[in-house]
């Protein structure tokens, strides 16, 4: 009881120490590091002043690693039922081989949080929608499970829940008969944290994924996409995804 009255000081201290260390390391490597945007006050609605995005550097992504997948599955309570055809996958590793040149790449693929999401266009009830800050979500309260959004998604990002779900994580409600996809860990983002995949990738040491506010010119992600060449997958569709890639 008393620990709740007095938040965990040792953890706070550790966090501030490691933040200093990380700042020093990244300053040394020449990239200006600005922290992830602070948590918005919980009573405040999200606005389009912020646009959340991710930048994935496929050069740092190795074919055998799936730390991001494991991190996502654990955080969101995705279970393996041993039925890969119908088990939900919010993020997957894709191995690519260029047919012309033979070069190989590996990258994680998840909901691209498009600025103009086809899934939100086709949803008959409006359950599939884009939040003001750019995160595309499924409102499972009004999802009727028609799966039209799964047909429409150009990235095959969505899954249908084919069985009863029990023991959900409280921050990730999911149930039979509705459609789901990567939420960019919206509960974490709203509290100023990074998505679980980003966290897991960084923990593992690869640091292939940067997360941040694309609208903030001082954020790491905005500066990186301005400096280096990055691509959106299926860019010709004109959807302007919030997830961009380097190295392919």
């Amino acid at each position: 009881m008393s620990e709740q009255m007095h938040p965990d000081f040792s953890r706070r201290e550790f966090l501030s120490q490691s933040a200093k260390l990380a700042a020093g390391v990244s300053l040394a490597s020449g990239v200006m590091l600005y922290g992830v945007a602070e948590a918005k006050p919980s009573a405040e609605a999200v606005t389009s002043k912020v646009r959340w995005g991710m930048l994935i550097d496929t050069n740092k992504c190795s074919s055998g690693c799936d730390a991001c997948v494991k991190g996502c599955n654990e955080w969101n309570g995705l279970k393996d039922h041993g039925r890969p055809q119908t088990d939900a996958q919010w993020i997957r590793k894709v191995d690519l081989r260029n047919k012309g040149t033979g070069s190989v790449h590996s990258l994680p693929m998840m909901c691209q949080h498009c600025e103009k999401p086809p899934c939100a266009d086709v949803c008959p009830t409006g359950a599939s929608f884009k939040r003001a800050d750019g995160i595309v979500l499924v409102d499972k309260h009004i999802c009727i499970g028609c799966r039209y959004c799964i047909m429409a998604c150009p990235y095959k990002a969505r899954s249908f829940i084919h069985e009863d779900v029990t023991d959900q994580r409280p921050h990730a409600p999911r149930g039979k008969g509705t459609v789901e996809a990567c939420t960019m860990c919206v509960t974490r983002v709203d509290e100023g944290q990074r998505p679980a995949c980003v966290e897991a990738c960084n923990t593992d040491g690869h640091k292939a994924i940067i997360f941040g506010d694309l609208n903030d010119p001082n954020s790491e992600i905005a500066q990186t996409v301005k400096t280096y060449a990055t691509t959106a997958i299926r860019a010709d569709l004109g959807l302007n995804p919030g997830v961009r890639y380097r190295g392919i």
Binding site: R92, P118, P124, T125, G145, R147, M151, Y155, K156
Partner: protein
Amino acid sequence: MKKVRFTQIEGGQGFWALLAILGAVIVAGLGAVYYMEHNGHWVTGMNNQIVWGMPHVFAIFLIVAASGALNVASIGSVFGKTMYKPLAPLSGLLAITLLAGGLAVLVLDLGRPDRLIVAMTTYNFKSIFAWNVILYTGFMVIVAAYLWTMLDRSMKKFSGKVGFVAFLWRLILTTGTGSIFGFLVSRQAFDEAIMAPMFVVMSFSFGLAAFLLVLMVTYRMTERPLGDAVLFRLKNLLGVFVGGVLYFVLAYHLMNLYATEHHGVEAFILRDGGIFTALFWVVQIGLGSLLPLALLYHPATSKSRSMIATAAALVILGGFAQVYVIVIGGQAYPMTIFPGFEATSSFADGAVNSYSPTLAEVLLGFAGIAITLAATAVALKLLRFLPESLGDEQVVAKAEDSAAVKAAA
């Protein structure tokens, strides 16, 4: 002028036996729905790669045929061909019952069918699905009103105007159904503007085939005369529509074949797709288009009733194959997320997806057909939809009379 008399069909053993069989199919379908609903869709053949399966093939066929079944009535009232006028009430009835059967299958396969009220009250108007909810329910209302103008003598004067509205509405409706696929940028098989008009012409063909078959069977079972004049007119029209569908299929594939970008999906459907290729060439083109054309027009078979009925049944079979190839073949071909790359992943990227329908899904589909037929049978018994006779002397006299009236004027 020989006036056409409409009467109810009598009951009798055949009628009740038919209802019993259809009822059993419906009950089986409902049992299948409970099984799929209770366990979740993992018990079906549908999965995260093939999200729309057998139920959707049946539902889309029935819905497309529904709007086409109204054609016969439209030809009568909108285009003024008096010979078709006695057929109009049955045409309107079949349009409603086909749509009801198709919608029943669609709704019962939803992940959350208990949220149908949400679907009918919360709309995202950018979604063609949302528009279709309004178009489908509106269609039922309008055709019901159309039937009212046909069956109630005091309302007959509105029949032309309401018929015109119904005609326009069903064109918009079928365009909407085709647009479900035509609007999808994600998959190569779908992202085509031609989908909308192709579905309209498909509806002409499937709807008329269904109408013809129901007409022939009903008149045989109730032992009412069905003359050659009506029958041959309808079968010639069916041939025209089958040709029309063939043209659109040809145009769709030829245009795709020209673009290098689409060579992959074309090779899949036309050559390498296994079951899809077989269904396309053998069932859709061969049995469903070319053979019926031969049967309907070749002098050796074109006058034979059994051949005409066979041709109509083959058109329906070909129609199912066509919808299967479009809906499931389109999902089976891997999405080109990374053009120019070979992709592999745990989520079937780059891989051709396979689909094996389960019994539950097929039962649900057939239950939809059974709902259509049962509703039609019951309606024919309760109300006066069927002309007592469609014999030649009845129908030809009517046509001659109206020609005489026109000549005199």
